[in-house]
């Protein structure tokens, strides 16, 4: 029994959350530092996981397994494959930046009762979310996964509803009502998805008799566990629905714009860059492994939906007046790419999709956080309120431009690699869909550059003229992300090396192989 590394990685932030919440009301700064340190320590643990993980080793590594709820056939089973490792690393990496970026977001304006501690709560909740996300990446027991998949809604819900942008065009009252609307919408959407999944989870138990991913997958593979086609499809739909809400996939996406618009930038990043990834990840890990046949059966529809998401999200992003909504719709478009890559069922597509999750996390984080810094300066989310920023705050503008370019996946930056992989992977099996998907590239350029032009260029707006440039703390947040974007854009090999084997085995689960080229041009 070696040191339970995975458990530690998940438990540490949980403990940190409790500790942070317990910090007395007066010591706000202490709470902040505590949260930051905990998140950094978690990052360290995640890196150890990364190091200890052997890409060419077994499928699930660092596994832990303990009895938990025998009556429900539930075990406490953890284990990571390449995909999970990559995403855990991403999560652990982003949280410190989120904490740092949200440094002042939760400083209370009015002091309620002396026991009212928003700052502590804010950072505690962030850490709680981190813990739950990480463990749901690690869980190889469906029930265990489900529990945290659901439970993470609660802290997210409080983060969205409890903390919003300081200044609001319609005053604080309106702000709070809109916030709680967004929060409730977020929770209900995901809860409905989760409950439908619950029915499917129970169904799975009735069929399979236990929840261990590996056992079920094995049993499915060697035919010892046979599911009626209709059963499998229903169960698949139950699972997929929940993940599609979380991801979000058109037409289940409308909660995302509200949530991201109303929450502070760091929380918005937490939603789109970290929490939503659980959805796409789960598609890859659970839908495909547990229900391979049903997945293939549903592929055409899902691909079309993904395609709609891509184009629809991009077009709506073009039409937005609110910076954060724009970013949200951009994310919807990006998630379309991810889902497309997953269900293209080619190694390029799925590796690309996984890579996309990582890259999208980083790029959106950079872009959204910068947008947040911008908004915090001017106190408005409306694009129209900005203009000529690059004149007064060149560094902010320059970094923001890089974020923009990453979003429109410019070659040389990380997102390009993943996006192209997804497109190629899709194209080799479904040429038409691949081609339509590429329109997304053009539209991405449109909304991204429109945003940059309207906010950063042109004559300097008077309200903007006194805007300070990036502060050190903010630069500390952005610079590493940008470096990472460039590095992964130029040398993504480290990530692909980890991901590829996992994708290979996933593909073998669904009995799919890459289509062969027409001409054997490369000598094998």
């Amino acid at each position: 029994m070696s040191f339970p590394l995975l458990t530690a990685t998940a438990v540490l932030p949980a403990i940190g959350a409790v500790a942070t919440a317990a910090v007395p009301a007066a010591q706000r700064t202490a709470a902040k530092w505590l949260a930051l340190l905990v998140s950094l320590a978690t990052l360290a643990l995640a890196i150890t996981v990364l190091v200890r993980f052997d890409p060419n080793g077994g499928r699930y590594q660092l596994t832990e397994s303990h009895a938990w709820i025998a009556d429900f056939g539930v075990r406490y089973e953890l284990g990571v494959d390449g995909i999970a490792v990559a995403l855990i690393a991403l999560t652990a990496l982003l949280i410190p930046f989120i904490v740092l970026a949200g440094w002042h977001d939760a400083d209370p304006l009015e002091t309620g009762s002396r026991r009212w501690r928003p700052t502590q709560g804010f950072f505690a909740l962030i850490l709680a979310v981190e813990a739950m996300v990480i463990i749901s990446f690690e869980a190889t027991d469906v029930f265990l996964f489900y529990i945290f998949f659901e439970a993470m809604l609660i802290p997210m819900y409080f983060l969205i509803g409890g903390f919003g942008d300081r200044a609001h065009e319609h005053g604080e009252e309106a702000a709070s009502t809109q916030r709680s609307y967004a929060a409730v919408k977020f929770l209900l959407y995901n809860l409905v998805g989760g409950l439908i999944m619950l029915a499917a989870v129970i169904g799975l138990y009735v069929v399979a008799g236990n929840f261990s991913l590996q056992e079920i997958a094995q049993a499915r593979a060697n035919g010892s566990l046979h599911m009626a086609t209709s059963t499998e499809r229903w169960l698949f739909l139950g699972f997929f629905f929940a993940f599609a809400v979380k991801a979000p996939l058109w037409p289940l996406h409308t909660w995302l714009p509200n949530a991201m618009q109303e929450s502070t930038a760091p929380v918005a990043v937490l939603i789109t860059a970290v929490v939503d990834k659980v959805g796409t990840f789960a598609m890859l890990r659970f839908c495909l492994q547990l229900f391979p046949e049903a997945s293939k059966w549903a592929t055409p529809v899902i691909l079309v939906l993904a395609l709609v998401s891509i184009v629809y999200g991009a077009l709506l992003a073009v039409g937005q007046r609110d910076i954060k909504r724009l970013v949200a719709y951009a994310s919807i478009s990006h998630f379309g790419f991810i889902i497309m890559g997953i269900f293209a069922m080619t190694s390029q597509g799925q590796s690309g999709a996984t890579l996309y999750m990582v890259n999208h996390g980083i790029s959106t984080a950079a872009w959204m956080l910068l947008a947040g810094f911008l908004i915090s300066r001017r106190g408005s989310r409306l694009i129209a309120d900005y203009g000529g920023v690059q004149k007064v705050a060149p560094v902010l503008a320059g970094t923001f431009l890089i974020g923009t370019l990453a979003t429109l996946s410019l070659p040389g930056l990380a997102p390009f690699v993943s996006e192209f992989l997804v497109l190629v992977g899709t194209f080799t099996r479904y040429p038409a869909i691949g081609i339509i998907g590429t329109f997304g590239i053009v539209l991405a350029a449109l909304y991204a550059l429109v945003l940059y032009q309207r906010t950063m260029t042109g004559p300097v707006k008077p309200e903007v003229s006194a805007m300070p440039d990036l502060r050190v703390r903010e630069l500390l947040v952005v610079a590493p992300l940008i470096v990472l974007l460039i590095f992964l854009g130029v040398y993504p090999k480290p990530v692909t090396d980890i991901v590829n084997p996992a994708v290979k085995s996933t593909l073998s689960d669904v009995h799919k192989t890459d289509p062969k080229p027409e001409v054997e041009a490369v000598a094998k």
Binding site: L315, P411, L421, F427, K493, V522
Partner: protein, 648 residues
């Protein structure tokens, strides 16, 4: 020796990094760093060139593998450079002209407080462009391809405080993106067809693939080329791109980047050769564009826009040549190089003129400038002679070859293409003469009138010490600007002759592009003669219109064609109406749909459940007896149902 290749790219890249991240402390020396880096790159280029010349024709290909970029199963993208005669030619052109223009910019941008950043962008562009021509596979080429797009975006929009500049930059990037879409689809097709997208295997096995696939790939590549090289139908961005500082127009939008499309086609020659239909399309595009650009060039009063039109049409020539296949590849490249010289020279000259005229770009406010800025006049004049193909100058040789090749295509299409080329030559002569006359001859229309063009950037040098309403007093530009112009003038005079001496350019490139003499229905002499005739006609008309009678300083209404041509033959309006307006409507309606339909469905269900709840709530009316009723009814139903269950 291969290891030097990376340095070609690395030097300017490093420069860009240093300049952009360096911050204000580098402002003093930034421009020199930039120039140094590009010159260094040029020096490496020359060394490599010497090395290549040392080898015999077959072994003039150097490969440098740096690292594996994206490995996913069969999808293997490497960062590998390939230096052969073709890319060598480009390297020299890019770094050479590039360095000259860096030098020129030192003077031109002197008074701009963001000069450091300008040089950073220029270096970035050089790096990307070199990456483009040195890449050994299409994906890496794609990186350079979009890289130059980015650099051009940054440079066009360099004066971002001008909304027009920002818009133009965005437009350029977007139109290019459409082209890039073509390139990426082409790469996907290649991967699906050949399982790779490296030059070697793809071009090597091109003939093994079905013609349909190849045609598709070729057309997609053409789409990409159209985007980058401003060919119809994706030409609209080039005119607006003139919002950028003039050196940018010279380097990116005349000499190098816009010719990338030609490079792509020539590089992919193997594919095009195997797809004749695609080739036909290429030639058509080329022919159309060369006329289109020429006509637009005739109507523009903005000197840079006029030159832009001519660039378009000259590239049209190259594309046409490239479309002709092995007959034309070499000449396409040759014209590309010579064009690089004289067009760059012309732009620099234009820049120098503007420099002296407080950034006035309207040629109708010029006139008689030759005695004020002699150097500019001479260099510009030489460039002028070169472009109209005056015998003996470089334009003459390259363009003549292309026209011959067009006829040599044979058949009716040969005739048609040739005819287009000839007409193009005539129009070229016309509009260039027009530019020449309006700028340097005639009476001085700029006298006693304020000619500060309203939205000229305050950053522009002259404006600093010139007040708002001051009469310009033209003056020759400083040495640092004239020297590059002189060098380029030399190039535009002798390059063609030099290349043509014993077809050395042909033999130099042949190993890469291959070459075949078509069976021309006309002898070379006749073609040359015809060209000369066209030239004379063009010059004559122009002289008759602008040399003899005075030029009105406000544009006359002009014929329908003229007015259309001023507006880029209404092609922009078309874009505006169809794409921009349509797009806006689409997005707006989609936003509405998202809010009412998609969201509405959800909120609707919620509301209906709420309403149901409200109604059911009424049953709870507080009267114990009504509760009793429901219990009694319930009991009755329960009993009845149980009995029923047994009955059925």
């Amino acid at each position: 020796m291969e290891n030097l290749i990376a340095l070609l790219v690395a030097a300017p890249l490093l420069g860009a990094a240093v300049l952009l991240c360096g911050g204000r402390r580098l402002d003093a020396v930034g421009h020199w760093i930039g120039t140094l880096m590009s010159t260094a790159s040029f020096v490496f280029g020359v060394i490599l060139f010497a090395d290549l010349l040392g080898k015999n024709a077959e072994h003039r290909t150097l490969i440098q593998h740096l690292w594996t970029w994206i490995p996913v199963e069969s999808f293997q993208a490497d960062v590998t450079f390939r230096l052969d005669q073709l890319s060598m030619t480009f390297v020299l052109l890019i770094t050479g002209v590039g360095s000259l223009i860096h030098l020129y910019s030192v003077g031109y941008m002197e008074h701009d407080e963001r000069r450091r950043r300008f040089f950073g962008y220029l270096n970035l562009f050089l790096a990307a462009m070199l990456l483009l021509v040195l890449a050994d596979n299409y994906l890496l080429l794609y990186v350079g391809w979009e890289g130059v797009g980015l650099a051009s975006y940054l440079l066009i929009g360099f004066w971002q405080h001008k909304p027009s500049a920002a818009t133009a930059a965005k437009k350029a990037f977007l139109v290019n993106r459409v082209g890039d879409m073509g390139l990426s689809i082409a790469i996907m097709l290649m991967f699906a067809t050949f399982g790779t997208f490296a030059f070697g295997p793809v071009l090597g096995h091109a003939t093994d693939a079905s013609e349909g696939k190849l045609t598709a790939i070729a057309l997609m590549l053409l789409l990409a080329a159209c985007g980058k090289s401003a060919q119809v139908p994706l030409q609209s961005w080039l005119g607006d791109a003139m919002e950028g500082p003039t050196p940018v127009s010279a380097l990116i939008h005349a000499a190098t980047m816009v010719t990338a499309g030609v490079y792509l086609i020539v590089r992919s020659g193997a594919i095009f050769n195997a797809a004749p239909d695609a080739q036909l399309v290429v030639t058509v595009v080329g022919a159309v564009t060369l006329l289109f650009g020429a006509i637009v060039g005739c109507a523009k009063d903005d000197i840079k826009k006029a030159l832009a039109g001519s660039t378009m049409s000259q590239i049209g020539y190259m594309v046409l040549a490239a479309g002709l296949g092995p007959i034309g590849y070499v000449f396409a490249i040759m014209h590309l190089v010579t064009h690089g010289f004289f067009k760059a020279g012309l732009f620099l000259g234009a820049g120098s003129v503007m420099h002296g005229m407080n950034d006035e770009v309207d040629m109708r406010k010029y006139g008689g400038l030759r005695k004020y800025m002699p150097v500019t006049f001479i260099t510009f004049g030489l460039g002028y002679l070169a472009i109209i193909g005056f015998p003996g100058l470089s334009g003459f040789f390259s363009k003549d070859k292309i026209i011959e090749a067009a006829f040599a295509k044979g058949g009716t299409e040969g005739w048609i293409l040739g005819a287009c080329a000839l007409v193009g030559a005539a129009i070229t002569a016309f509009y260039m003469t027009r530019v020449m006359l309006m700028t340097f001859f005639g009476e001085e229309r700029w006298k006693n009138q304020p000619t500060r063009s309203p939205e000229a950037p305050s950053a522009e040098p002259a404006a600093e010490h010139q007040g708002e309403h001051a009469e310009p007093h033209p003056h020759e530009s400083p040495k640092v600007m004239t020297i590059p112009m002189i060098v380029l003038a030399f190039g535009s005079v002798f390059a063609g002759f030099f290349f043509n001496l014993g077809d050395r350019f042909l033999h130099w490139l042949e190993p890469v592009t291959g070459h075949s003499e078509g069976d021309s229905p006309l002898s070379a002499a006749t073609v040359t003669g015809a060209t000369m005739v066209c030239l004379v006609i063009g010059v004559g008309i122009a002289y008759a219109m602008y040399g003899r009678r005075p030029v009105p300083s406000v544009a006359p209404r002009g014929s329908l064609l003229t007015r259309a041509a001023r507006r880029d033959l209404l092609q922009d309006d078309f874009n505006h109406v169809v794409l921009v307006r349509g797009g806006e409507h689409l997005t707006r309606s989609l936003v509405y749909v998202d809010h009412t339909l998609v969201d509405g469905v959800v909120n609707g269900t919620a509301a209906s459940v709420g309403g149901l709840s409200g109604r059911m709530r009424k049953l709870q009316n507080g009267f114990a007896r009504s509760y009793a009723v429901s219990m009694f009814g319930g009991a009755a139903v329960l009993v009845a149902a149980t009995l029923l269950m047994r009955a059925v």
